[in-house]
Amino acid sequence: MNTGRCCSNYTRSNFLRSAAAKAGSGLPGIEPGMPVPAGTGLTRRGFIAGAAGLAVAVYAAGKTPLPLFEDGIAEAAQSDRILVSIFLDGGADTLSLLAPVGHSRYHDLRPVLALDESEGTPFSEDPSLHWHPSAAAIAQLHSEGKVTVFPAVGYDGANQSHFTSRHFWEVGELETDTRTGWMGRYIDLAGSDNNPLQGLSLSNTLAPALATHDKPVAAVEGVTDYDLWSWTDAPVSDEMFKSFKRMGSMKSESPALRDSRKAIRATNIIRESLESFGDFESPVTYPDARLGQQLSGLAALLGAGMPLHCVSVSADGAYDTHSDQKQEFDGAVKATSDSILAFQRDLEARGLQDRVLMQVWSEFGRRPEENGSAGTDHGAAGVAMIIGSKARGQMVGEFPGLVNLDEDDNLRHTSDFRAMYCSLLEDWFGHDAAPIIPGAANFARPVLLK
């Protein structure tokens, strides 16, 4: 087990405090139409003080035996590869993240929002593009050969609805009715019946990309405070949880009851696994961003040998920048990029860098032509990245340029997200993509790894 030196506690109260600080800080500078936090008398801090009764002591990992170790699941997972899917919610603006400053039409389309040619680091693989200055941390990783960029990823017939397009990405096909996620279907085929950590959402609800048909998966918002507190102590509490656990595996006559039991069963396993996982120390300093805090907890879980396999997390910020884009976008990109860099450094310090790959994605890119509110509307092709020590570091598909846009005046895609999934499944997980991604045979596999 690897514990580092400096301290980065990640507790619910820290988490909420940072959220409150972030929300409150936006208030005076808000401009018309910009998504803003509610309320002026932000009193989350007070809530937390009131909730202190909930915080029970946590113990160092390893003090009590973890069920997943007892079952041998954790040991078996020690050599597993891990995929961390990082979602930029809202449709991140490709033309700001990798700004085509060398394309003359860019400045016509983006009179307000265009980056100047002097801004940002040139993207070495195509110097007509510049990394946004707020993405300097990603540019750094790219210069180390650890970022594989998809500068224009999408699919035929781009759907401009957040929900539909995001859903396509989540389920790994262009079907609106699919109820399992692409990683969920992989877990269904390759996963364990007893390990909910194999598909972990670092959030308070399960990421749809991880939705399985029947294998257990988990959502955990804060990894150090996963307790089910009650007005009992041992030995009564032990018997109570034994019954709770049994309620998770009784027979069900309706889908809702089955879902309820499945969730109870997984909840109990996570409780048994994480109740002894206490505060941890990170070997690196993370930015004060929600994503950074979540990734620091994730690195600590991996360092403790927890049997994780597919992980999903949402990045900071809202990328649906219909108006006053710069205000939201710049901060969001900085928080996201800095968090990713810190996570990579953390993995490197723990010697885990060869086992972990990040996949950064958004449901679509934004329209090349800015709107009149200093923002951008929904577009088509977007940007995605594969990040990690094992990433090949060479872009997949070129930047299509701004002259030949599609019929809705949006960026054309030069790579397909399903092809990316096929390569991840086959080259990273070593699992045939055919039973997971419909039509897998039709996609040429991009080379993502070294």
Binding site: F47, V236, E253, L257
Partner: protein
């Protein structure tokens, strides 16, 4: 116990009490008056300790029924479902009361209540005992509405407001004042008693919505498609049904121009109004019809679109029944909706009276409904801020839906949200649990007494046999731990706490 009751000279009557199991999760003491002849000896009979209620056996598989009115049994269980889905669960005794009315009257008593709604019981307070500040403090808006759900005597109104809050999901995260979200709440709450046309008109010019979906930034010089798209996709027509094209969205965005507002550095967006200066006064073509359309025309064109009624019926149905309606039912509901000029209430009432509503499969209660039903069952007031962040943890903080599509009703339960629901029970028991270590709990309590006591605390929720048997088993497993005298009261108290925790944490309490 047999007691003397009569005064008659020829006959003396006595009453005999016995336990009667309704078969619906509750056992009651029934008193029967019996007359006997003079000289006849009065039999002595003690009803004995209260037996546990007969647990519920799951129903047989079911398939969608044709359109019609439910004619099956309407007892405590059916009334509970009605209260769980059209309100926020029963207060103790309320399901029995409703069951006596019969199904139709029961539904109408909810959907067409008499007079003004009243909030019954003590005013809500925050964790410091201070009045709520729903316009100003984070989470107090959630507490404010949760309290209305708990205390109202017209729960259907609140439930329909919740349905429309999800339908026209608007979030504090894109609105400058919580007050504007609460103003929107009143609009949504009034919605059920009118036509959908009117609700769409009201919501289109609603200040919170004009901020949330950029309607106030949509001008003739720079049209913004945000509202036009969601109006069609999520509110009236549905995506990927061939109802509209990208061009329709762009043209509708032009037609919707004209709304504007002022910006105040302290208050945010204020003074919302329609200003013809900002409105695109040219011809637009929406759904193949050309005209100089404005925002009201867009609302009208959407709700009169031939694919709107089916969208409306499907979406509304999904809030109440977790399986698609039969073709026949769907068509009949569409006809009903159109026949009544898109009035909302008749369609809701038809759904609440449909056989599928009572005989169809279970649904997972939304987190806030779970929370409210917990407080109603335990007769607890809103007096802690915890409900706000627990609501967030359980996946539903009011006035903060995850996005404009609202909450995902098929994914309420996972390891994170189940934990938050568990903690909701823990918090609810803050004032209802028994102290383990001050020797205040009773010294003796049989397993049956313990389980009955815990069930009574919740107003006798009907439990599946698996669950009730598990409670009995758990209570029984505690007894062997009690070996020393000092352990007796603390362990029995904790056993009671464990039973209280498990009853509300078990699947029966999560479902409706």
């Amino acid at each position: 116990m047999a007691v003397k009751a009569g005064k008659s000279t020829r006959f003396r009557s006595y009453s005999r009490q016995r336990w009667v199991d309704s078969g619906e999760g509750v056992v009651r003491l029934k008193t029967k008056v019996i007359r006997r002849r003079r000289g006849e000896k009065a039999p002595r009979k003690d009803p004995g300790p209260r037996p546990l209620p007969r647990p519920q056996i799951p129903r047989n598989p079911w398939k969608p029924q044709p359109f019609g009115t439910y004619h099956g049994e309407f007892g405590r269980l059916e009334a509970t479902r009605l209260l769980n889905r059209a309100g926020f669960g029963p207060r103790p005794g309320q399901a029995e009361q409703l069951a006596k009315m019969g199904m139709k009257k029961a539904v109408l008593s909810l959907t067409r209540p008499q007079g003004q709604a009243k909030l019954i019981g003590p005013e809500p307070v925050d964790g410091d005992g201070l009045p709520l500040a729903p316009f100003d403090s984070w989470g107090h808006d959630h507490l404010w509405w949760l309290d209305r759900m708990v205390r109202t005597d017209q729960p259907f109104r609140e439930r329909m407001a919740l349905v429309f809050h999800d339908w026209f999901a608007t979030s504090n995260s894109g609105v400058s004042q919580q007050r504007q979200m609460i103003d929107q709440y009143w609009t949504l709450r009034a919605g059920v008693n009118g036509t959908f046309d009117d609700l769409v008109v009201q919501i289109t010019k609603d200040p919170a919505m004009l901020q949330w979906l950029s309607g106030g930034d949509n001008t003739k010089w720079s049209p913004n498609e945000n509202y036009a798209r969601e109006l069609m996709e999520l509110f009236t027509l549905g995506a990927d049904r061939g109802a509209y094209t990208e061009d329709d969205i762009r043209e509708a965005a032009r037609a919707l121009t004209g709304w504007t507002y002022d910006w105040d550095d302290d208050l945010g967006a204020i003074n919302f109004r329609f200003d013809p200066e900002y409105h695109d006064d040219e011809t637009k073509k929406i759904f193949s019809s050309k005209g100089n359309w404005d925002w009201r025309d867009v609302c009208r064109l959407c709700v009169t679109h031939e694919l709107h009624a089916s969208f409306f019926v499907d979406k509304l149905w999904s809030y109440f029944v977790p399986a698609a309606p039969s073709k026949d039912t769907r068509q009949a509901l569409i006809r009903l909706y159109l026949k009544n000029d898109r009035e909302i209430l008749p369609v809701v009432e038809a759904i609440l009276m449909h056989p599928d509503f009572y005989r169809g499969p279970s649904m997972v209660k939304p987190p806030v409904v779970f929370n409210a039903s917990l407080l109603r069952a335990l007769k607890l007031p809103v007096n802690t801020d915890a409900w706000a962040w627990l609501g967030e943890g359980a996946g539903q903080q009011l006035f903060l839906p995850p996005n404009v599509a609202g909450w995902d009703d098929e994914r309420w339960l996972d390891t994170s949200t189940v934990r938050a629901r568990w903690l909701m029970v823990t918090y609810a028991l803050d004032s209802r649990h028994f102290e383990a270590w001050d020797d205040s709990y009773r010294e003796k309590e049989s397993v049956r007494e313990a389980v009955n006591r815990a069930l009574a605390a919740y107003g006798w929720p009907a439990l599946r046999s698996d669950h009730q048997n598990e409670l009995v088993s758990m209570a029984g497993r505690i007894s062997p731990y009690i070996q020393e005298d000092w352990q007796r009261r603390p362990y029995l108290a904790m056993r009671q706490n464990a039973l209280l925790q498990l009853i509300a944490s078990c699947p029966d309490f999560q479902l409706s």
